[in-house]
């Protein structure tokens, strides 16, 4: 397979130049090797529209990344940068623009620094949560990471795609917790952001803003450069964690329930990842708190008082868990809530009594709605009202809505779509997904993150003032990457020559 609009002669020249730059062992062109970059959960699996790579190249150093990008620019070969390629449900390691060459950064797997004293890490893109956890454990450092679910992916990749975790705020907003980047631009030039722009900076991971316009956001869900280093603030190990569960039994009480959660989070009394469950008349929320034991106990009491104002609510105090956890305790708690990466999510998504016919794959529709009880009730009704028609009378088995309050001030109302080997069913799921995107956008709800196959559609829903945000992004893209070689189409940002009218 050739990259689009690239001649065989030029592609071969590019491959030869990459072999010189990174070594022939690290340029992959054989079908079986390139196939490893397919999206395991592609909603177009084995269909002509499935997005696939033409080749892959895996540099191990900053200088090699620069060389690869310069060659791509010379021959106008589109690249698609991945970290460890585990962005499952959002495109995996497959390019958005079919035929691109995957720029695989998993060999850049060095933990460059972990400061216990100032609680930060500086890593390369190939460092997984498992790797960073192992480094911290091995060196007996008293800091926690914030792993997502599952924890086998890249720390940088998850942050850049907008991922999140399960410990305390602000660490579980992974992009929000970053501090400083090193980026290779399409020209091959290297930029360091924030305080890193000072030669021999001593404070790169101490302040994220630096001076002047902040540009890091261009690289979140972006295609303006290749991030080769990134700093992250870590959480000093908290002494304890205690959670409480609050239940209400009248539908309308979800309004004061969420208002109270919001107040407690915005006051920084509740700092853990709250979780909202329920529907109909019964709703419950979990409010975890991390910190010193004396403080946590006082915070729990404060929470009890606040929730008691909701008549008929039931407040149940959970176990106070001291850290570090012993093995027995770790085995009975949800590991990611305690900074320990794991893969149990795959067992949960696998075949079990609650889910007797799992399809294997899944993709998520993840619109953000206001963080109010009224919005939860409205979205629940919206889902019920449209479910029968979109699900073809229940034949398409979505799972949702799941109301996720993982991030401060944010509420994601997720619907999970199964993806399996049945192409007819997958096509119906795609159609259903598109309908939910359109219907939600018409109500003012849009996604924070989307599978590669739907990124264009989602980007188009952000259409205020004749798509002025998209047009601004395109202007920046054209300036930074005039040949449009870096991840064309990622999150709906296309270079000029591929832009659809």
């Amino acid at each position: 397979m050739l990259p689009p609009n690239v001649s065989a002669a030029n592609f071969n020249r590019a491959l030869a130049a990459w072999r010189t730059a990174v070594g022939s062992d690290w340029v992959f062109t054989a079908d079986a090797d390139v196939a490893l970059y397919r999206d395991a959960y592609s909603p177009y699996w084995d269909e002509p529209e499935e997005r696939v790579a033409s080749a892959a190249v895996a540099p191990s150093t900053l200088e090699q990344v620069q060389a690869v990008v310069r060659v791509a620019n010379q021959y106008k070969v589109p690249l698609y940068a991945i970290s460890t390629g585990r962005n499952l449900a959002y495109g995996g390691s497959a390019p958005v623009y079919s035929g691109s060459v995957v720029l695989d950064l998993k060999r850049m797997n060095r933990v460059l620094e972990v400061s216990e004293r100032n609680a930060y890490a500086l890593v390369e893109p190939g460092v997984s949560y498992f790797d960073l956890y192992e480094h911290i454990t091995k060196h007996n450092l008293d800091v926690w990471i914030d792993p997502p679910d599952p924890g086998w992916g890249s720390v940088i990749g998850n942050a850049l795609d907008g991922g999140g975790g399960w410990t305390a705020s602000p660490f579980r907003d992974h992009f929000g917790a970053h501090c400083g980047m090193e980026v290779v631009l399409a020209s091959g030039e290297v930029v360091r952001t924030g305080m890193g722009a000072l030669p021999d900076s001593k404070s790169w991971q101490h302040n994220r803003w630096g001076c002047g316009p902040w540009v890091d956001g261009l690289f979140r869900q972006g295609n303006m450069g290749v991030v080769t280093k990134m700093g992250f603030h870590l959480m000093p190990r908290p002494e304890t964690m205690q959670s409480a569960t609050v239940m209400v039994t009248r539908a309308e009480d979800v309004v004061p329930l969420i208002d109270t959660v919001n107040l407690l989070e915005n006051q920084h009394v509740v700092n853990g990842s709250t979780q909202l469950f329920g529907g109909g008349a019964q709703w419950q929320v979990q409010v975890p708190i991390y910190g010193p034991e004396k403080v946590v106990r006082a915070q729990i009491e404060y929470c009890r008082d606040k929730f008691a104002k909701i008549a008929g609510s039931r407040f149940t105090e959970g176990e106070l868990i001291r850290t570090p956890l012993d093995a027995a305790t770790l085995n009975r708690v949800r590991k990611v809530n305690f900074g320990v990466p794991d893969l149990s999510t795959f067992a949960m998504l696998g075949r079990n009594a609650q889910n007797p016919a799992p399809p294997g794959g899944n993709i998520g529709f993840s619109p953000i709605i206001p963080r109010t009880g009224e919005a939860v009730l409205e979205y629940s009704k919206f889902y019920r009202d449209n479910l029968a028609a979109i699900s073809e009378g229940g034949a398409l088995r979505f799972q949702g809505p799941v109301f996720m309050t993982n991030w401060d001030r944010t509420l994601v109302a997720m619907i999970m779509f199964p993806i399996g080997r049945d192409k007819v069913m997958n096509a119906k799921m795609r159609t259903a997904f598109e309908k939910w995107v359109a219907l939600a956008a018409a109500r003012g709800w849009a996604e924070y993150r989307a599978p590669a196959a739907f990124q264009d559609q989602v980007a188009k829903t952000y259409s205020y003032n004749n798509h002025s945000l998209t047009r601004m992004r395109e202007t920046i893209k054209d300036a930074l990457d005039p040949n449009g070689i870096l991840s064309p189409g990622r999150y709906g940002v296309w270079p000029k020559h591929l832009r659809k009218v």
Binding site: A32, L36, A40, G350, G360, R421
Partner: protein
């Protein structure tokens, strides 16, 4: 003889004691130390039978509780593969194979054998061999004829699995996406992950 009770006790979170002799290791990877491992879902009788065959030959067998692979990965497979690419085999839920396959690629290993076993509500099992059948010398008919002893037959076949020089390097297996199953059926995957 390894009994089911002994097998489960010995494999509850840990491998059976390592014997110097490993039938499967010798067959699959004759130049490598006998570090071959088997992985089975510890609550499934067919998987347990499969594991018992390997355990009887001295192969370390890991029984997974509820298909939870994190501790297996961090505690055993990852250190093993960091030292070098070593073959492993298993009868597990598809999700376990999917996870191990994804992790294997970064360590120079691929799925060399993959079969699916649909355990039907009437007690029968339908076998579908996805890859590597010729190298293992096994067919779906062969396994069907074995009836309830298919796990043992399969383990014997895997123990003699021989990868040929002309074998293709495989791409991804079908582990990520599952087939539609009849009502109340269950799906097991059997597999070998071996150096590419």
């Amino acid at each position: 003889m390894t009994t089911r009770r002994r097998f489960l006790q010995a494999t509850a979170g840990a491998a059976l004691p390592v014997s110097m002799h490993s039938l499967a290791a010798a067959a699959i990877s004759p130049q490598r130390p006998p570090q071959f491992r088997a992985v089975v879902v510890g609550s499934q009788p067919d998987a347990i039978s499969f594991g018992q065959h390997f355990a009887a030959g001295g192969t370390p067998v890991h029984a997974l509780a509820e298909d939870e692979i994190t501790s297996l990965w961090l505690g055993t497979i990852r250190p093993l593969w960091l030292a070098g690419p070593v073959a492993i085999a298993g009868v597990t839920q598809p999700a376990t194979l999917f996870c191990l396959e994804q992790l294997a690629w970064s360590h120079g290993l691929r799925v060399a054998f993959h079969a699916e076993h649909v355990l039907q509500a009437d007690g029968s099992t339908v076998h579908q061999l996805q890859r590597g059948a010729a190298a293992a010398g096994v067919t779906a008919t062969h396994l069907a004829r074995a009836g309830a002893t298919w796990p043992t037959q399969l383990a014997q076949a895997m123990a003699t699995h021989r990868r040929h020089r002309w074998d293709p390097r495989f791409g991804p297996s079908l582990a990520s996406l599952e087939p539609a199953l009849p009502p109340d059926a269950q799906l097991l995957s059997s597999w070998i992950i071996a150096p590419a």
